[in-house]
């Protein structure tokens, strides 16, 4: 049996290993090593916990069985999941962290002796506060992530669900969470604890339903952050350094990602944290509906343009993920490269449904990561490029964001696709993008619309090259 001091040292070591795991992600070369540090840190934390409790009785076997069941399910999912489903997977995983935090808080509330927190009804005040915070944030993470998961899976409609009085209701619930936490701490009543959990589940649900599908990158990052704060809350309760460090890391990681995503969409951070967003005015969509001439072409035209180009920039978006076109795209690029055409990829920060979504899909299709560029890195290159190939992206290329102060997306950083000599725009129809606004790019002199499924069109172009 380990002494408390010795196990605290080991927990500190695993906390440090977790920091190194994130540090490794600063470049793809060191990332695999980073992941190994993470696994090592986790192994140490789990082993130390077993040794510090030290009772290798019936309980030990049962615990191992539950651990193995979870582990097998997790491993199975990890091997089976297609890369296009990564946003759903991450949302699903967040919900599990949230629920686990809730369950640990419940276990600690019901049996505080096991955690040295006092006895039922006489839990130490500090621990009870920490426990309540951990449980409430965990519950919010759980129900919020479930909604995000359902929206990403398409089981629930991706469009925002709003109703009158939504924000006052949310505010009321948040206030009551604080009041109930206060009452819980002064009375130690278990009923209040259950009520706290229920309304926390409810608020998580209410916070996410008004947020639309394309805003999911922010939501996922935000829930990532919440799951970290929940873990930290429980870490304080359990007086566990590894958990506190990890919670802080994950919490700030998610917060930074949400900040980056918000900036990519030109939205305010606090707006998102409070959940009062996604209810963008959709009225703009009906204006400007007059017919404007559009040039459309087929795979043959597109292939001709690309064959005569010396440099091509590819702009992928969520549509590429939906059409599973990343492999077909890579094949097209391979053919282009054989003809000595320079190809690079331009990724907008909010392309796809989660941070880095496009990069993973391209990596899956064996696109080398040093051909893939972020918005700031590549935006000046569009002027010198011959062809921009927009596949499944829309709003992130809309020049209106730079020119029309009336537009809802005005001020959002966009890729300067229109500066290319010619633009090939693969899209199924002329329908406006998520923001509900027309894309001026469709009507530019140098734009050729390719109306087709992204995957099929890419394959056809390859045949014609």
């Amino acid at each position: 049996m380990l002494t408390a001091n010795l196990s605290a040292i080991f927990y500190l070591i695993s906390g440090v290993l977790f920091i190194l795991a994130l540090r490794g992600l600063s470049s793809p070369e060191t990332s695999r090593q980073g992941n190994f540090f993470g696994i090592l840190g986790m192994a140490i934390a789990v082993t130390v916990t077993f040794l510090s409790v030290g009772s290798f009785s019936t309980g030990f076997v049962v615990v191992l069985i539950f651990l193995l069941i979870g582990g097998l399910i997790g491993a199975f999912i990890a091997y089976k999941i297609p890369m296009t489903a990564m946003p759903e997977l991450v949302a699903g995983f967040h919900s599990l962290v949230g629920l686990a935090a809730v369950f640990v808080a419940i276990a600690a509330f019901l049996n505080p002796e096991a955690f040295n927190l006092g006895s039922p009804g006489k839990i130490k005040l500090g621990s009870l506060i920490e426990m309540s915070i951990g449980a409430a944030v965990g519950a919010i993470t759980f129900s919020g992530s479930i909604i995000a998961f359902l929206k990403l899976q398409g089981i629930m409609s991706g469009s925002p669900i709003t109703f009158k009085g939504q924000h006052p209701l949310n505010a009321l619930i948040l206030i009551s969470i604080i009041v109930i936490t206060y009452l819980l701490c002064s009375t130690q009543s278990s009923n209040l604890f259950w009520i706290l959990l229920c309304i926390s589940f409810l608020i998580g649900f209410l916070l996410i339903i008004p947020i639309g599908g394309a805003d999911m990158p922010v939501v996922i990052s935000m829930l990532n952050s919440y799951s970290g704060w929940a873990a930290a809350g429980i870490g304080f309760t359990l007086e566990n350094t590894a958990l506190i460090i990890t919670g802080a890391l994950v919490g700030s990681s998610g917060a930074i990602l949400s900040y980056i995503m918000c900036k990519g969409m030109n939205r305010s951070f606090f707006n998102v944290i409070l959940g009062g967003f996604g209810a963008t005015d959709q009225s703009a969509s009906d204006k400007n509906k007059e017919q404007r001439p559009v040039k459309s072409g087929n795979a043959d035209d597109a292939a001709f343009l690309m064959k005569n180009a010396s440099s091509v920039i590819i702009v992928p978006g969520y549509g590429m993920a939906v059409a599973q076109a990343q492999h077909a795209l890579r094949e097209m690029v391979d053919t282009l490269k054989k003809n000595d055409i320079k190809v690079s990829y331009a990724i907008h920060p909010v392309a796809g449904r989660m941070p880095g979504h496009m990069n993973v899909l391209l990596a899956e299709a064996n696109v080398p990561y040093d051909e893939v560029f972020e918005l700031e890195e590549i935006n000046n290159d569009f002027v010198n490029a011959d062809v921009a190939f927009v596949i499944g992206a829309n709003d992130v290329t809309n020049p209106v964001a730079k020119t029309d102060p009336q537009s809802p997306i005005y001020g959002m950083p966009v890729l300067d696709v229109e500066k290319c000599k010619s633009v090939l725009f693969v899209k199924r129809s002329l329908s406006p993008g998520y923001a509900g606004i027309d894309n001026d790019l469709f009507y530019k002199e140098n734009t050729l619309m390719l109306f087709a499924d992204a995957k099929k069109m890419t394959e056809d172009i390859t045949k014609n090259l």
Binding site: G38, G70, N111, A114, A231, L249, S252, I256, L257, G356
Partner: protein
């Protein structure tokens, strides 16, 4: 007067937020998805609390309410730990540099 141990934990927490802030800003944007899956996996270190709860009972009380919640939490966190690290590994294995001979 002695300092409450809570203050020490709070110090660790605050300093870790700063570490997290600087470490995450240095993560390259192309690895943001693996970042999310790996933070997911490591936040499941909450399993240590679940194990304590699960092991708290002796053979008579292993299936009391507290232990059952502990055991369920163990399974949930284990799904995340194994799933999170493995899927991260799978993703990271795909990131390749341009081959020189091309």
């Amino acid at each position: 007067m002695e300092i409450d141990p809570f203050i020490f934990r709070l110090s660790i927490f605050i300093l870790s937020i700063f570490i997290g802030y600087y470490v995450v800003w240095s993560v390259t944007p192309s690895l943001h998805t693996p970042l999310m899956s790996v933070t997911n996996a490591i936040s499941s270190v909450i399993i240590v609390g679940a194990i304590i709860a699960g092991l708290a009972g002796n053979s008579d009380t292993i299936f009391n309410a507290s232990s059952i919640f502990g055991l369920l939490a163990i399974s949930l966190a284990a799904v995340n730990i194994f799933g999170g690290f493995l899927v991260t590994q799978r993703m990271l294995a795909m990131y390749k540099k341009k081959k020189k001979d091309k």
